[in-house]
């Protein structure tokens, strides 16, 4: 590791290194953050869930949104893969189906940023993932 020569140096380094522990800090505080769970069952992956997962990971960071992106098993909506569940702190989780990149972008911009619902919400006839 390079020498830290000044406080400014240290702070710059901290900015770079923060990412190393940021994931954990977010996890520690996930209840106050946007949570995105991506269904990654076989059918989900086959229909592009992996790409959607990566998209959320990258884009939330790029758009400076503190969020936790995790994967989960098959949500049971095989007709509407990839499926994701988004939880905004203080609100009930909402499940979106048929999420592609474009839809994902829309979800971030409208729902996550402004709380406006977008098309593609799946009805609440499922158990929350955690209750399974």
């Amino acid at each position: 590791m390079a020498k830290v020569k000044s406080l400014a140096d240290l702070r710059k380094m901290k900015e770079d290194l923060q990412s190393k522990v940021h994931l954990r800090e977010k996890g520690d505080n996930y209840e106050n953050l946007v949570q995105v769970k991506v269904g990654m069952g076989t059918s989900g992956i086959a229909s592009g869930a992996k790409e959607v997962f990566n998209f959320f990971v990258d884009e939330l960071e790029k758009r400076s949104i503190e969020g936790v992106v995790t994967q989960t098993g098959d949500m049971g909506y095989n007709f509407a893969e990839p499926t994701i569940e988004v939880t905004i702190p203080g609100k009930e989780p909402i499940v979106f189906g048929n999420v592609d990149m474009k839809k994902a972008d829309q979800i971030i911009e409208s729902y996550i940023k402004n709380g406006e619902l977008v098309e593609g919400i799946l009805p609440e006839n499922y158990d929350k993932i955690d209750n399974k």
Partner: protein, 597 residues
């Protein structure tokens, strides 16, 4: 650089390591490798999570899943189910003992709910062997600010304003200590970190050093800056190999990064830290004894004054603080004295780390705000008494502390209230005893420890504690008299009043506090020759209940000393003068005819 979307934290504290923690890490890494997850999942060995009762612990981030009692063979399932499929491994989740529900987020566990981690902030969170993770968590930021933006007296003022008191037991105001050291001028001054943790069952210092060594180095350097000392020494017991290793790694990294050594952060301030190993003598936690030990002398205390801040290591002004005290320093400097004062109580701001042990459900390491009650600690965080038994007492402050009872349960925990209650904070040991424990024996146990750990320098501690132990043994053997109780009281008070150092001045506390709170138990031992908890063997009698005895002779045949006599089909009898109380008869009797009196 790999972009990880998941971190798996494995407890790498001494306790979990002993329970195959290392094998878990290895096995997780292997599974990740086999599943080609190297770029997305990172395994990190951290310091202690504190919940040692349920160790080894594995925590998965960012979904904050807390797996307990994990075995190496569970790792395959964790990777296959949780990591790949996103399904939690239900059977490894913690079960709330009251609600019988599974809890995956540690914040919702009784054990963690009331905790507030300041000194332990990085334990169980970062990789202690990676300085980058520490820096990523604002590590060395406090040092940077001190060196670049503050004068030494400003640093001391913040610490003074914060009201931080020494966490090693004495509770002396840290800022004041620093101020005294800063005002004594000398060509060389020292900063010493006291890591000679010696209370039985206490491991808070070890956990901090194992989980967050850089915080100690940072705090020592800050202290050096504040007191104009350029050399730091960590006095650590050699029985802490992991803590030593982590410290050594941390020192090396800090030196390589220029955070220790010459001209730190371009400020012109030099500071370096070395390790000194102790042989684990309890008395070396006393600062003068510690300094003598570091000088190669016999580890025994000397009269204060002079205090180390005036004349310490090699006669130079030396500031000695305990590990936990140091661990608080960087946070206080970043978040401010007011923030720190907002936690805890007016006279004891901040938090305190305790090692919970004994007859309690959740054994482990906890950090709680000062002012929390014993009840909250024992029944909420500690999860109550094991096996539904009745709470009897809690020994705080280690062997030098006292036993507190039901009537103290709602006492807020802080330095002064504990002393007022006849105990002390000590370094934070907390041992819970239940109805199955005999309080005379508990006092005897602690005296055994102090007798063993006395350095032998002053007569009251060297001989007096031995005599206390002998009288307690006499009472436990059923030979005690009422005069012995008076003797215990007088000897204890004189030892407290005359002993040279903190060890002897506090060693009779277990006797005095049990005499105070459990005098009836002492009287039972002395007058009735009875030990209600059934601990004192000499006071137990195995007796045959004639109504139940059928004369099967099974007991007589199994008795190894021939103490049982009786005709076949006749009532049997145990000769108490021969009985060695081995308990073989009671096990053998099918008719519940033998009982303990």
């Amino acid at each position: 650089m790999a972009k990880y979307s998941m971190h798996i934290l494995v407890c790498g504290g001494t306790g979990c390591r002993a329970a195959q923690g290392l094998a878990i890490t290895e096995s997780l890494k292997k599974e990740i490798d086999e599943n080609n997850l190297n770029d997305t999942v990172q395994v990190i060995e951290t310091g202690c999570f504190g919940f040692c009762e349920k160790g080894p612990i594995v925590k998965i981030m960012p979904d904050n899943t807390f797996y307990v009692q994990v075995k190496p063979e569970d790792t395959k399932e964790i990777i296959a189910e949780h990591v790949i499929k996103g399904r939690k491994v239900e059977r490894l989740l913690f079960v709330d003992p009251d609600k019988k529900e599974k809890v995956s987020d540690s914040k919702h566990m009784g054990f963690y709910r009331k905790q507030l981690r300041i000194a332990l902030r990085n334990c169980g969170f970062i990789d202690p062997e990676n300085i980058e993770e520490y820096i990523g968590r604002e590590g060395y930021e406090a040092l940077g600010r001190c060196l670049t933006e503050m004068k030494p007296q400003d640093v001391i003022k913040i610490i003074k304003d914060s009201g931080l008191r020494g966490r090693g037991g004495g509770g002396f105001p840290t800022g004041l200590k620093w101020e005294i050291a800063s005002k004594n001028h000398a060509d060389q001054k020292y900063v010493v970190c006291n890591a000679d943790e010696g209370d039985p069952g206490a491991f808070m210092d070890r956990s901090i050093l194992e989980g967050d060594p850089h915080s100690i180095l940072e705090a020592m350097t800050i202290c050096g800056y504040a007191t104009a000392a350029t050399k730091g020494l960590v006095y650590i017991r050699a029985e802490y190999p992991l803590a030593i290793k982590r410290l050594q790694v941390a020192i090396k990294q800090a030196r390589e990064s220029g955070l220790l050594g010459k001209d730190i952060l371009g400020s012109g301030f030099d500071f370096d830290v070395e390790l000194r190993f102790g042989a684990g003598a309890f008395v070396c936690g006393e600062e003068t004894a510690l300094i003598h030990s570091m000088e190669g002398e016999r580890g025994e205390p000397t009269v204060k004054p002079p205090f180390p801040a005036e004349s310490g290591y090699w006669g130079k002004p030396t500031n000695v603080n305990n590990v936990e005290t140091f661990a608080n320093i960087p946070v206080i400097l970043i978040k401010g004295a007011t923030w720190f004062r907002s936690i805890g109580t007016e006279k004891s701001p901040g938090t305190k780390v305790f090692a919970l042990a004994g007859k309690i459900n959740n054994v482990g390491l906890i950090e709680v705000p000062m002012g929390i009650t014993l009840r909250e600690v024992i029944f909420e965080i500690g999860g109550g008494i094991k096996d539904g038994k009745k709470f009897k007492a809690v020994q705080t402050g280690g062997p030098s502390g006292g036993c507190l009872t039901t009537k103290h349960l709602d006492t807020p925990i802080e330095f002064d209230t504990l002393i007022a209650a006849g105990s002390m904070m000590g370094s934070g040991g907390m041992i819970v005893v239940d109805e199955d424990d005999c309080m005379v024996s508990v006092a005897k146990f602690y005296l055994e420890f102090t007798v063993e750990e006395s350095c032998g320098k002053c007569a009251p501690c060297r001989i007096g504690n031995k005599r206390l132990h002998e009288v307690l043994t006499k009472i436990c053997n059923g030979n005690g008299t009422r005069e012995d109780l008076e003797l215990l009281d007088n000897m204890s008070r004189v030892i407290k009043d005359t002993a040279l150092c903190g060890l002897g001045q506090t060693s009779p506390n277990p006797v005095l506090s049990t005499l105070d709170n459990f005098y009836d138990e002492y009287l039972e031992h002395v007058d009735d020759k009875k030990c209600r908890a059934g601990v004192c063997k000499s006071l137990m009698q195995y007796v045959i209940q004639p109504d139940n005895c059928v004369g099967c002779t099974a007991c007589a045949r199994v008795c190894p000393v021939g103490a049982i006599t009786g005709e076949r089909k006749g009532i049997h009898f145990i000769d108490q003068s021969l009985c060695i109380k081995c308990g073989a008869c009671i096990e053998k009797c099918k008719f519940n005819a033998i009982f303990i009196q």
